[in-house]
C-alpha cells in the first residue's frame, strides 16, 4: 500500500527553534483587544446607568435629579440593593436564592410581632431579627451544601415556607405602626448641626471626606501597581477616571445636601457596599467564593472547604434578607403579609444586569449595585412619566435581556 517517500525539498528541516516551542501567538493586537473587552464589561453598565439617568432627566424635564427625588430613589431602592449584594455573592458561588423575598417578608412580620405586639425595644428586636435571618440562611445552606440538593429547589421550597410563615405570624393582618426609632432608620436623615442653611453641612462634610478617600485610594493603588510593574491606565485616562468619580460624588452630595441631607439608608448602603466589595475582592474568603463558583472540583482539590464556604454564603444571604425585610417594614411603617413579594426577582435581575454569570464564578458587588440602580432609576423615571406598571414590567424585562445579551455577546467575542 505504501509506495513513495515524499520529501518536500523546498522545506528542509531547519533547526530554527532550539526549544521546540511554538512562536508567540498572542500579538499586540489580541492583547489590546482583550484589554478593551475586559474594560467594556466593567464599565459598560456604568455608562448605561449614566445614559438612563440623562435620558430620564430630559424626559421628566429635570424632575429625576431634583434633590427630593434623588432622596426618594435611595429610600425606595435601599432594600433591593441590600438584597442584590447578598444575591450577587450567592450567584458568584454558583447558586441562586429564590427565597429572599419571603424571608424578608417573614422577618418584617417577626419584627412587627416582637416590637409592636410584644413591645420589645427595637434595637434588641433588630439584632434578633438579623440573627433569625442568618439562622434561616444556615438552614437552607445546610440542605444545599451538605445534603447536596440544588439551591433552586431548596430556596423554591423556602420561598413557599416563609411566605406561608409570614401569613401565619400576621394572621393575614398588618401590624402598625413600627417603633419610631426603626422607622427613622428607613426614612430619617443624618441630623443637622447648627443653624439651618442652604446646604446640609454634615452631608457636605461627609461627601468631601468620601471624595478625598476615593482619590487617595485610587492614587495609592495606581502607585503601588506601578511599583510592582503591573498594567495601569494611561495617565490622561486615569485623571479622567478620577475626575469622573469626584464629579459624581460631588453631584450626589450637593443634591442630597440641598434637601434634608444623607438618608440613613444611604449610609447603611454605602457601608455595606464598601465592606462587601472589599471582602469579595481582597479577602481569602471572597477569593474562595469565586473559586468554588468557578470550578468547584478544582477548588476542593486546592484545599478549600467548599461546603463550608457555600454555607457561609447562604448564612450571609439570610442575614442580608433580614436587613432588607427590616428596612422595608420600617419604610412602610408596618409589617404586612404582602411584604417582599417579587423582591428576589428584582435582586436576581440586578445581579445579572451588573455582570454576574449564571454559571458562577463571575460577578462583582459594585456591578450588582449598578444593576440595582439601573432598575431603580427605570422604576422611578417611568413612574414620574406616569407609565403604567404593565409597561414598566415589560421594559424592565427587556432591559435585563439586553444587558445579559450584551454581556454574552462580548464574552463570545472576547473568547475567540
Amino acid at each position: 500500500m505504501t509506495t513513495t517517500v515524499e520529501q518536500s525539498p523546498q522545506n528542509p528541516v531547519v533547526p530554527d527553534r532550539p526549544n521546540g516551542v511554538p512562536p508567540q501567538q498572542h500579538s499586540l493586537w489580541s492583547r489590546i483587544s482583550a484589554f478593551l473587552m475586559s474594560h467594556v464589561r466593567q464599565s459598560g453598565m456604568v455608562v448605561a446607568l449614566c445614559a438612563i439617568v440623562l435620558l430620564f432627566q430630559v424626559w421628566t424635564s429635570g424632575i429625576l435629579l431634583k434633590p427630593l427625588n434623588v432622596t426618594n430613589i435611595i429610600q425606595q431602592n435601599g432594600y433591593i440593593l441590600v438584597l442584590a449584594i447578598g444575591m450577587v455573592i450567592v450567584i458568584i458561588s454558583g447558586h441562586i436564592d429564590l427565597s429572599v423575598g419571603s424571608i424578608a417578608g417573614f422577618i418584617g412580620a417577626m419584627s412587627g410581632v416582637l416590637m409592636v405586639s410584644h413591645g420589645m425595644p427595637w434595637p434588641v428586636g433588630v439584632v434578633l431579627c438579623i440573627g433569625m435571618g442568618a439562622l434561616i440562611g444556615a438552614w437552607q445552606g445546610f440542605w444545599i451544601a451538605y445534603v447536596g440538593i440544588p439551591s433552586f429547589i431548596v430556596t423554591l421550597g423556602g420561598m413557599l415556607v416563609f411566605r406561608g410563615a409570614t401569613q401565619y405570624l400576621l394572621e393575614g393582618q398588618s401590624i402598625a405602626p413600627m417603633p419610631h426609632g426603626l422607622e427613622q432608620v428607613s426614612s430619617g436623615f443624618l441630623p443637622e448641626i447648627g443653624v439651618n442653611s442652604v446646604y446640609h453641612w454634615p452631608t457636605v462634610i461627609l461627601g468631601a471626606v468620601m471624595m478625598v478617600a476615593a482619590l487617595v485610594t485610587q492614587i495609592r493603588r495606581r502607585r503601588s501597581q506601578l511599583r510592582y510593574g503591573q498594567e495601569v491606565l494611561a495617565t490622561p485616562l486615569f485623571i479622567a477616571k478620577c475626575a469622573a468619580i469626584v464629579a459624581a460624588l460631588a453631584v450626589v452630595t450637593l443634591l442630597l445636601a440641598s434637601y434634608r441631607g444623607v438618608p440613613i439608608v444611604g449610609i447603611i448602603l454605602v457601608v455595606l457596599t464598601l465592606v462587601y466589595a472589599f471582602v469579595m475582592r481582597n479577602t481569602v474568603l471572597g477569593r474562595q467564593v469565586y473559586a468554588v463558583g468557578g470550578n468547584a472540583a478544582a477548588a476542593q482539590l486546592s484545599g478549600i472547604r467548599n461546603k463550608w464556604v457555600t454555607l457561609l454564603v447562604f448564612v450571609n444571604m439570610g442575614a442580608l434578607a433580614a436587613v432588607a425585610g427590616l428596612l422595608f417594614a420600617a419604610r412602610l411603617n408596618s409589617a404586612t403579609p404582602q411584604a417582599g413579594i417579587n423582591f428576589e426577582l428584582e435582586a436576581i435581575a440586578a445581579a445579572f444586569i451588573g455582570g454576574a454569570s449564571s454559571s458562577g464564578g463571575v460577578g462583582t458587588v459594585l456591578g450588582a449595585i449598578v444593576g440595582g440602580l439601573v432598575l431603580g432609576v427605570l422604576n422611578n423615571g417611568m413612574s414620574i412619566l406616569g407609565i403604567g406598571s404593565d409597561v414598566q414590567q415589560v421594559i424592565k424585562g427587556l432591559v435585563l435581556l439586553a444587558a445579559v445579551g450584551f454581556d454574552v455577546y462580548n464574552r463570545r467575542k472576547g473568547g475567540r
Partner: protein, 509 residues
C-alpha cells in the same frame, strides 16, 4: 492508487495570527493518513477547514475531492460529500440511547415521526460493523469512553462516510481500547474508507498509518511513507525541527535519602458500587530525592489511589495509613494533606486542576492564599510578585500573570498547575499524568522540572500511562492492576515489556 483528497495552498488567518500558511495535503484513496505536529502546529485548524467548520471564503486555497473543487459552507456540506470529522471531545448526548445518538440530526423519520423499529435494527447492524456488543438502547452515559468512541465511528458510518477524520481518537482510551479502535480503522480501510488521524502517539501512528504528513508552525514540513525504516525519532525530528535523540533530559546526579512518604495497606471502595475495591491493600513508599513511578492500565486504580490518599477526594476510604518521615500523619482532608507537605497535581487539569476563568496569578495562589495575605486580607502585590516569579522561572508563555488560564496551551496550563503546587512548598509531590496532551517540547521542560525537584530533595511520585515516560524519569516503578500492587521494579530491571507483564498480571484475559 488514486488521489481522493487534495488540499492546495491552504492559508487561514486569524486576527493577528496566521494559523496556516500554504499548507498542502494529499490523501490517496483507501489509505490511512496521519497528521503529526506539535500543539499549535495547525492540525486541528486544517481539519476544520476541510470539514467546513471554517466555511469557504474564510480561508485561501483549494480543496479538491475526487479532482473537483469543493466549497463547503458548513459541516453539513462536507458531510454530504462524505467527509465526517470526529472531534477530540465526543459529541454524544449522555442521556440518550446509542441508537438515538447514531441518528441524531439524521433521524430515520417519515414526516417528522421517527421509525423506531427501523432505527433500532439499522443501529444494530452499524454496531456490529464496529464490533460493539451493546444493545442500541443502552444509554451513552452507561458505557465507557472506549465504547463511546466506537459509537462515534458507527455514527459516521450511518452517514455513508468516505473520508473519516479522527482528532486524537485514542487520547482518552486505555491500551486495549486503543488497539481495538485502531484495528477497526484498519478494517474500515479494507472496506474502502479512507481515514485521516491526528495523533500524538507516534507508536500508534507508525503501526496503522500508510503515510504521515508533518506540520510545523502552520506549514507542511514533509510527507513520509510508513515503512520499516521510518523511526519515531525521524518523525519527531520533522515535528520539532531538530533531532530529538534525547526525549528525556539527562538525569542529574542526586542523592536519595530516607523514606519520606509511605502509604500502607491502603484500601478504597468505589464511590457508587460499594462492593468493588478500587484500591486493594496497596503499600507504596518514596524516598527523599527519589522519583517513583506508578504504572497501570486504565482502571488499575492509580488515580484513585492518589486522590484518595490526597484528602480522600475519591471513593470510600476503608483502611490504610499514611506516614511522613516515619510519623503517621492524617490526610483526611485536602487542607490537612497540604499542611503536611503533600501536593497532588491532577490528570484532568481542565476540570479538576484549574478554574479556567481565573488568571494565572489567582490560580497559583489558590491553595496557599494565606501565604499572600495578612489577617485574611489578600495582598495583591505579594500575589502579583509571586505569580511573576513563577511565570518567569517556570517559563509560562503568557503576556502577563493576569491572563486567564483558559487561554493558555496545554503545556502552559500544566506549568501553572505545577507552579500552584510548588507554591504550597510540598515535600512530596504526586504528579498524575504530568504530560498528558502536551507537546514534545513542553514535555521536555516538564521532565526537567521534575528532575530538578527531585534533585532538591523532594519526593516525587509520577503516575503515567506512558511507559517510556516512566522509564525515562523514574528510579523505581510500581505496577498496579485491578486495584492491587503487582510489582515493584528498579530502574535497572525495567523495560516496557517487564512493566507491561506486571501491569497485566492476574488479569483475566
Amino acid at each position: 492508487m488514486t488521489t481522493l483528497l487534495e488540499m492546495r495552498g491552504i492559508t487561514k488567518q486569524f486576527p493577528g495570527v496566521k494559523a496556516l500558511s500554504e499548507v498542502d495535503l494529499t490523501v490517496r484513496r483507501g489509505e490511512i493518513h496521519a497528521i503529526c505536529g506539535e500543539n499549535g502546529a495547525g492540525k486541528s485548524t486544517l481539519m476544520k477547514v476541510l470539514s467546513g467548520v471554517y466555511p469557504h471564503g474564510s480561508y485561501d486555497g483549494q480543496i479538491l475531492l475526487d479532482g473537483s473543487e469543493c466549497e463547503f459552507k458548513d459541516i453539513r456540506g462536507s458531510e454530504r460529500a462524505g467527509i465526517v470529522i470526529i472531534h477530540q471531545e465526543l459529541a454524544l448526548v449522555p442521556y440518550l440511547s446509542i441508537a438515538e445518538n447514531l441518528y441524531l440530526g439524521n433521524e430515520l423519520a417519515r414526516r417528522g415521526v421517527i421509525g423506531w423499529d427501523r432505527t433500532l435494527s439499522e443501529a444494530k447492524t452499524l454496531l456490529e460493523r464496529v464490533g460493539l456488543r451493546e444493545s442500541p438502547q443502552t444509554r451513552i452515559a452507561d458505557i465507557g469512553v472506549g465504547k463511546q468512541q466506537l459509537v462515534e465511528i458507527a455514527k459516521a458510518l450511518a452517514k455513508d462516510v468516505r473520508l473519516l477524520i479522527l482528532d486524537e481518537p485514542t487520547a482518552a482510551l486505555n491500551d486495549s481500547d486503543s488497539r481495538h479502535l485502531l484495528d477497526l480503522i484498519v478494517e474500515l480501510r479494507e472496506h474502502g474508507i479512507t481515514s485521516i488521524i491526528i495523533s500524538h502517539k507516534l507508536n500508534e501512528v507508525t503501526r496503522v498509518a500508510d503515510s504521515i504528513t508533518v506540520l510545523r508552525d502552520g506549514r507542511t514540513i514533509e510527507t513520509l511513507a510508513v515503512n520499516d525504516e521510518l523511526t519515531e525519532d525521524r518523525i519527531v525530528r520533522g515535528m520539532v525541527g531538530r533531532d530529538l535523540t534525547h526525549r528525556f533530559p539527562p538525569r542529574p546526579q542526586r542523592e536519595i535519602g530516607d523514606v519520606a512518604f509511605a502509604v500502607a495497606n491502603w484500601t478504597v471502595l468505589h464511590p457508587i458500587d460499594q462492593h468493588r475495591k478500587v484500591v486493594d491493600d496497596v503499600s507504596v513508599d518514596v524516598r527523599a530525592g527519589e522519583i517513583v513511578g506508578i504504572a497501570g492500565l486504565m482502571g488499575a486504580g492509580r488515580t484513585e489511589l492518589a486522590m484518595s490518599v490526597f484528602g480522600r477526594t475519591y471513593g470510600k476510604y476503608v483502611s490504610g495509613k499514611v506516614f511522613k518521615e516515619g510519623r503517621e500523619i492524617s490526610t483526611r482532608s485536602v487542607s490537612e494533606a497540604i499542611k503536611n507537605g503533600i501536593a497532588y497535581a491532577t490528570e484532568d487539569r481542565k476540570h479538576l486542576g484549574l478554574n479556567l476563568m481565573d488568571s494565572i496569578a489567582k490560580s497559583i495562589t489558590l491553595p496557599s492564599l494565606r501565604k499572600v495575605s495578612r489577617r485574611m486580607v489578600i495582598n495583591e502585590h505579594d500575589e502579583a510578585r509571586v505569580a511573576e516569579e513563577y511565570r518567569t522561572s517556570m517559563r509560562i508563555k503568557a503576556s502577563s500573570a493576569n491572563v486567564s488560564t483558559g487561554k493558555l496551551s496545554g503545556g502552559n496550563q500544566q506549568k501553572v498547575v505545577l507552579s500552584k503546587w510548588l507554591f504550597t512548598d510540598p515535600d512530596v509531590l504526586i504528579l498524575d499524568e504530568p504530560t498528558r496532551g502536551i507537546d514534545v517540547g513542553a514535555k521536555y521542560e516538564i521532565y526537567t522540572f521534575i528532575n530538578e525537584l527531585a534533585a532538591r530533595g523532594k519526593a516525587v511520585i509520577v503516575v503515567s500511562s506512558e511507559l517510556p515516560e516512566l522509564l525515562g524519569l523514574c528510579d523505581r516503578i510500581y505496577t498496579l492492576n485491578e486495584g492491587r500492587l503487582t510489582g515493584e521494579i528498579a530502574r535497572a530491571d525495567a523495560t516496557q515489556e517487564t512493566l507491561m507483564r506486571h501491569m497485566m498480571k492476574g488479569r483475566a484475559q
